[in-house]
């Protein structure tokens, strides 16, 4: 039972580390361009959300706090993506 | 002096907070033309000198008056010290730290204003000198933030230990106080950078930290005034309820 309580935690760790690896692999490919950038940000969003829900344990927290944190995440990520999308040379490929 | 008279002075001191807030924003910010934006450190000396000439009257009056206004920090720090001493008891080190930090904040802000008055003193002089004086003023106010941080952290720590049923500051405000005190730290970068958000006119060295400072100051003033009011009420019309609020929880 102890192990099954910690298993979700292990799973979360695998997911965030795996997501990091994917983000790096995309970079290693030497591709640039808006799609890769957007995917990088999406991966960061997913990792951050897992940290909030599982490491910070907000998945089972009162909705107010879960909404506040997820709301922060959504707002900051949206702002970043929006500014990224409207940045000058964002659409060039190397 | 009897308790009632003492509380009257404490109340006056606490109200110096809101007065400071309004006067500081008006004279230092608006009249001195630091709002909506301070002069950029990236401005050329000639441009900067021209700015002084253009707003000469406002800059002079604004900063001369704000130097006097800044001393309202003294009674405010004094009453906060008294309130902290009540919480701490025999060896009120936190109250002393807060007192010293608050006292030192006065010259940090007012002396920087002296430099800007000096810069405006002879508008016809070599612009480089005016620029050097302007730089000095900004670097004083922005790099000497740590004194104010000590004041704020000490106040927060003392208030966290307030065992009254109705404490001086609510617990969340203590943590926000610590946050606001630390929000000044990026302003150290103003000593190196001339452009970007960490320059003295940037969002992270000016707008955000000054906002945090004044927001904390406003919130603290509210609760300080309320605390003095509670004590006055306990004396004027003692009741089980009013003494219960002052009693230890």
């Amino acid at each position: 039972m102890t192990r099954s309580v910690l298993m979700p935690l292990q799973r979360t760790w695998l997911l965030v580390v795996g997501a990091t690896a994917v983000a790096l692999w995309m970079r290693e490919d030497r591709l640039a361009g808006f799609t890769i950038g957007a995917m990088t940000l999406a991966i960061a969003y997913a990792k951050a959300r897992l940290v909030i829900l599982d490491f910070m344990e907000l998945r089972h927290a009162p909705l107010l706090w879960r909404c506040l944190l997820e709301g922060w995440l959504l707002l900051v990520s949206s702002l970043i993506v929006t500014i990224y999308a409207s940045s000058g040379a964002a659409h060039h490929s190397l | 002096m009897d308790e009632k008279t003492s509380l009257k002075y404490q109340m006056l001191c606490a109200w110096s907070g809101p007065l400071f807030l309004v006067a500081f924003i008006y004279f230092w910010g608006m009249m001195g033309f630091n709002l909506p934006a301070p002069p950029s450190p990236a401005l050329g000396a000639d441009e900067l000198a021209a700015r002084y000439v253009e707003h000469l009257g406002g800059i002079r009056v604004g900063f001369l008056v704000s130097m006097i206004v800044m001393t309202l920090y003294i009674p405010w720090t004094a009453v906060l010290s008294a309130q902290m001493m009540r919480i701490e008891g025999r060896s009120p080190v936190l109250a002393f730290i807060q007192l010293i930090g608050g006292a030192l904040t006065v010259p940090v802000v007012s002396i920087s204003s002296v430099f800007w008055v000096a810069a405006a003193y002879r508008p016809e002089r070599a612009p480089e000198i005016t620029q050097a004086l302007t730089d000095s003023g900004w670097l004083i106010i922005d790099t000497l933030w740590a004194c104010t941080t000590w004041q704020m952290v000490a106040a927060a720590l003392a208030a966290l230990h307030d065992k009254c049923a109705k404490p001086l500051f609510p617990r969340w405000l203590c943590f926000i106080t610590i946050f606001c005190g630390l929000s000044f730290a990026p302003a150290t970068m103003t000593g190196i950078l001339k452009t970007g958000p960490f320059a003295w006119d940037g969002v992270l060295s000016f707008y955000f930290p000054y906002f945090c400072w004044l927001l904390w100051f406003a919130l603290a003033s509210v609760y300080m005034i309320l605390e003095v009011a509670r004590r006055r009420q306990a004396i004027d019309s003692p009741s089980p309820a009013s003494s219960a609020r002052l009693a230890h929880a």
Partner: protein
Amino acid sequence: MPGQYPIGAARTGTLPDADALPLSAAARSSASPRRLPGDRDVWIFIYAELCAFGLFFVAYMVYRSDRVDLFNASQLGLDRSLGALNTILLLTSSWAVAAAPRAARLGRIVAVPRYLAFGIALGLAFMVVKYFEYRAKLHAGITISTDMFYMFYFCLTGIHLMHVIAGTIILIVIWLNARARLYHTGNTTGLEAGASYWHMVDLLWIFLFALLYLLR
């Protein structure tokens, strides 16, 4: 939840296997009402920090939007492997620090300081990596005044590093408490509060890594 386990067992750390109990903490906590771990007022502090850093991230993106080519070019000078290593270190550290309160709630008192110690070690490793990273930059003549990108790099990672140091100090404090067996099923607030600050530090690095090292 308090009262679920015999007090004596929790204090000595000798707990029967959770399976043997009629209703384990895990099963009970998943059915129990929602609960904010740690301390609400510390969460307010954490939220203020998140808002401040959110401002930093947006400022970075705004200043970048005017100088995309400069930022892309200078970004190539960053050591992505060290950045990635730091990311893995913090994520793993966060995993360990997240495991500690769970262990405490299950009454596995002995495990709590071990998880925290592991988390602290990885936090220290992060600092060491950062030291080498900064040193390499400075040796290459790259400083905070080199250009706008490197200004953000040094300032943002520097401010974050201050938070890593502060977070590590907090972890050490709760680790010392855990070694003194302070945290158990009925008392995990301080542990969780300290842990939540550390997870914030991890969360912020996820963004910094993406923005500074990866985003082009």
